[in-house]
Each structure stands twice: as structure tokens, then as C-alpha cells.
């Protein structure tokens, strides 16, 4: 093998991209030819320095959450994902304007908005109270088989308690609480230093799609499905909370 032929194969040799026969020929030449041997040493050292020196970046949690949350929404191809929350706050603001501006009209709608608002206040108060020392859980356990049966006879439903540890949302436990003038089940999950509370109670009526609102640094999401009303609240960022809710709902069934 001539030097020129060897040189143009050195990278492929280094990368294991040559046939065994070619590879053997290059190896033979490199061992004998000082110049090509030097070239090979330089290339090989450079490749090693690149491999050792270059950063492998981990995708930020927020990016992951944004993608997961965009995927779990009904497909709207042209959508730029960034902000279901912006849309939500607009919606909430609009609802508020209507609520304030109107007095007699659309009573039913207003009544529902008021009710929702009242429940949201309860949920917020309950969640914040639970963060005080000793109030978080009545049954502290990371095992769903301890938490779920604990609610038997204490509330009028068997709340979903999916295991989400593998997704980074460890189960912390459960407790009874009082929201919307009734006893409700509260299931508690963690995310780093953040606490997520899922409230659920039986509630007659048709299924209602997921909606969300933000207040005082807390994000809430609610929906009704199969005659169970659910509220989720946390000070976790909106993207990760949306990811949590998507996982929770998918695994709750």
C-alpha cells in the first residue's frame, strides 16, 4: 500500500469502517511507515480528545415536558406548542370579565364559574395547609397498595393511585380533606422538592375536558371523567405539571 492510499483510509481505519482486508493493509503500512504512523497517532489522539472533551447535553426537563404535553393534546398540526397556559389565562380572564360585567344574563354559566372558583379556592387553601409540618399525609406510603385501600370507607369512591415513580413522580401518600363542602380523597405525589396533590370526589354529571388555571404561584388542573371530579394542584412549573397530569390520567384507568 502506498502512503497516499493509506492516508485517505486512515479515518475509516480509525472508525472501523474498512473491510477486514483493507484494515489489515492499513495496519501493516502504519506500522512500517514513520510518516503515516505519525499521522495515525495524531488522528487517533485528536479523536480521543474530541470524545473526552465534547459535552453530551441532557435535554432539560422543561423541554421534555413541553413535548409530552404537546403530544397529549388533540393534534393541531400548525400549533406552536409553547403555551396552553397563556391560552388558559386568557380564557380565565375572559370568564372573569364576563362574570364581573354581567349581572342577570347567562346565570347558569356564571353559576358554574362561581362554583369552580369556589372549589379552586378550597383546593388552594387545602393544598397550602397541607404543606405545613405534619399535615401532608394521613397515610404516608410510597406503595399504592397501602394508599388505595386506606381510603375504603373513608370517602365515597376509590381514588386512582397510579405508580409514577419511574417517570420521576414518586407517590408520597394520601389523606382525607374537605373541599367543596365534602370529604374528598387527596393523593400526594412529589417532584424534586415540589408537592403535587390530586383531589378527587364523586360528582354526577357528564365528563368535562381538562382545564387549568393559575393563581398565587400555583397551577391547577381539573377535569371530570366517569362521574369523578379531579383537581390537581402544585407549585411545580406548568409544563411538568401538564406532563404529570397526562401520565396520571393515562395510568389511572
Amino acid at each position: 500500500m502506498r502512503c497516499a492510499e493509506c492516508r485517505e483510509r486512515l479515518d475509516a481505519y480509525l472508525d472501523g469502517e474498512l473491510t477486514p482486508v483493507e484494515s489489515e493493509m492499513v495496519r501493516g503500512h502504519v506500522e512500517q511507515c514513520t510518516n503515516c504512523g505519525h499521522e495515525h497517532a495524531v488522528l487517533s489522539a485528536t479523536s480521543r480528545r474530541l470524545r473526552d472533551g465534547l459535552m453530551y447535553y441532557e435535554a432539560p426537563d422543561m423541554l421534555r415536558a413541553r413535548i409530552v404535553s404537546a403530544l397529549s393534546r388533540p393534534a393541531k398540526p400548525a400549533d406552536r406548542v409553547v403555551s396552553p397556559w397563556v391560552r388558559w389565562s386568557r380564557l380565565a380572564a375572559a370568564a372573569l370579565v364576563i362574570a364581573v360585567a354581567s349581572s342577570g344574563l347567562t346565570v347558569a354559566v356564571l353559576h358554574r364559574e362561581d362554583t369552580t372558583r369556589a372549589v379552586a379556592d378550597d383546593v388552594l387553601a387545602s393544598h397550602v395547609r397541607s404543606l405545613m409540618p405534619g399535615h401532608l399525609t394521613d397515610v404516608a406510603s410510597n406503595d399504592q397498595h397501602n394508599v388505595k385501600p386506606w381510603f375504603n370507607g373513608r370517602v365515597d369512591l376509590s381514588p386512582p393511585v397510579p405508580r409514577l415513580d419511574s417517570a420521576g413522580f414518586p407517590l408520597l401518600g394520601g389523606r382525607l380533606d374537605y373541599v367543596a363542602s365534602r370529604q374528598v380523597a387527596a393523593v400526594i405525589y412529589g417532584r424534586r422538592q415540589h408537592i403535587i396533590t390530586v383531589y378527587s370526589w364523586s360528582s354526577p354529571g357528564d365528563d368535562e375536558p381538562q382545564s387549568s388555571l393559575s393563581t398565587q404561584g400555583y397551577h391547577m388542573m381539573r377535569w371530570r371523567s366517569g362521574r369523578v371530579e379531579s383537581w390537581v394542584i402544585s407549585d411545580l412549573n406548568a409544563g411538568e405539571l401538564a406532563q404529570f397530569v397526562a401520565l396520571f390520567r393515562r395510568n389511572a384507568a
Binding site: L10, E17, R49, Y57, E58, L71
Partner: protein, 174 residues
């Protein structure tokens, strides 16, 4: 039922999100741009997920990420705004701490990063795909959309440029 493609996508494609983000970081040189483009690429991949069929998901996804990065660059004309990083302005700081072994390693890493950042885009991408992602020439060729021979020659020239920038010749030749 409607959830199934989402779940499959999350299982098949999302494990490569770090790879995608790393590629975008190197191609765009900006973490926020990289996040936006990877998000865009992931949603585009999801819309075209049915086209993957039996293909290799990692290379397929990276090809989409790569194309989104290029489209993004064309749209944003970023290179004109990038301030060139002058080596002589920045190396002094690193060298002054060279007594500390960790600092040497840090400055070596920084030198490697600088050398790669200074490469033209078509060289930089093959370096990232080969040296960080450890892809084969055939996979790189498919992602970049050029023949295998072109991958080989770009990689070869890219490594020699990096070697020259790092002074690897002087260091290893003795």
C-alpha cells in the same frame, strides 16, 4: 385508542431526546434556540411517525432534528450575529490556573469545544454525529443526505482542522 401513537412515540423516539438536543446545541450554538428547534422537530417527527415503519428510529429522528436546525438557521441568519471567539483573548485565563489538574482538564475541554465551534457547519455536524453520537458512516450519510464517501472526506478534513487548532501534532508527535 387515540393515545396509542403517543405512547409508541414516547417509547420509541423520546429516549433519543438527549441525542437530539446535543446535536441541536452544537449546530445552533444556543441552548434556547436548541430547545425550540428540538421541540419543533419532535412534533414534526410525531406527525410523520407513520413513515418510520421499520427504520432505525434514532437516525430517523436525528435527521429530522438536523433538517429543522438547518431550516431554522436559514430563517434566522444567525451566523452573521455570532461574535467570533478569539482564542488569544480567552486562553490566558485558563492557563493561569494550570497548576490545578482539574483546571487543565477544564481548559482542554474548553479548547476542544472552541475548536469544534469554530468548524464550518458541515464539518461540525459530522464530528458531532461521529465522536459524540458514535454513528456509523452509513447512518451519518443518511442523516446528512450525502454519500458515504463525502462523510469520510468531511470527517477527515474536520479532524485535521481540529488537530491543527489543538496543536495535537506537537503534543503527540514527540
Amino acid at each position: 385508542m387515540a393515545q396509542q401513537p403517543v405512547e409508541r412515540f414516547e417509547t420509541v423516539i423520546l429516549p433519543y431526546l438527549d441525542d437530539a438536543y446535543t446535536l441541536a446545541r452544537y449546530l445552533l450554538k444556543d441552548e434556547h434556540d436548541a430547545q425550540d428547534v428540538v421541540q419543533e422537530a419532535a412534533l414534526r417527527a410525531f406527525r410523520h411517525f407513520h413513515q418510520l415503519r421499520d427504520g432505525e428510529p434514532r437516525a430517523w429522528f436525528l435527521a429530522i432534528v438536523r433538517n429543522c436546525c438547518f431550516t431554522w438557521r436559514r430563517r434566522n441568519w444567525k451566523d452573521r450575529l455570532v461574535v467570533p471567539f478569539e482564542d488569544h483573548l480567552h486562553t490566558n485565563v485558563d492557563e493561569s490556573r494550570s497548576a490545578d489538574a482539574q483546571a487543565i482538564e477544564q481548559s482542554d475541554r474548553a479548547a476542544v469545544e472552541r475548536a469544534v465551534a469554530a468548524l464550518p457547519l458541515e464539518f461540525r455536524e459530522v464530528i458531532v454525529l461521529r465522536e459524540i453520537q458514535d454513528l456509523s458512516y452509513a447512518e451519518i450519510a443518511a442523516i446528512v443526505g450525502v454519500p458515504v464517501g463525502t462523510v469520510m472526506s468531511r470527517l477527515s478534513r474536520a479532524r485535521r482542522r481540529v488537530a491543527a487548532a489543538l496543536g495535537a501534532g506537537a503534543q503527540e508527535a514527540s
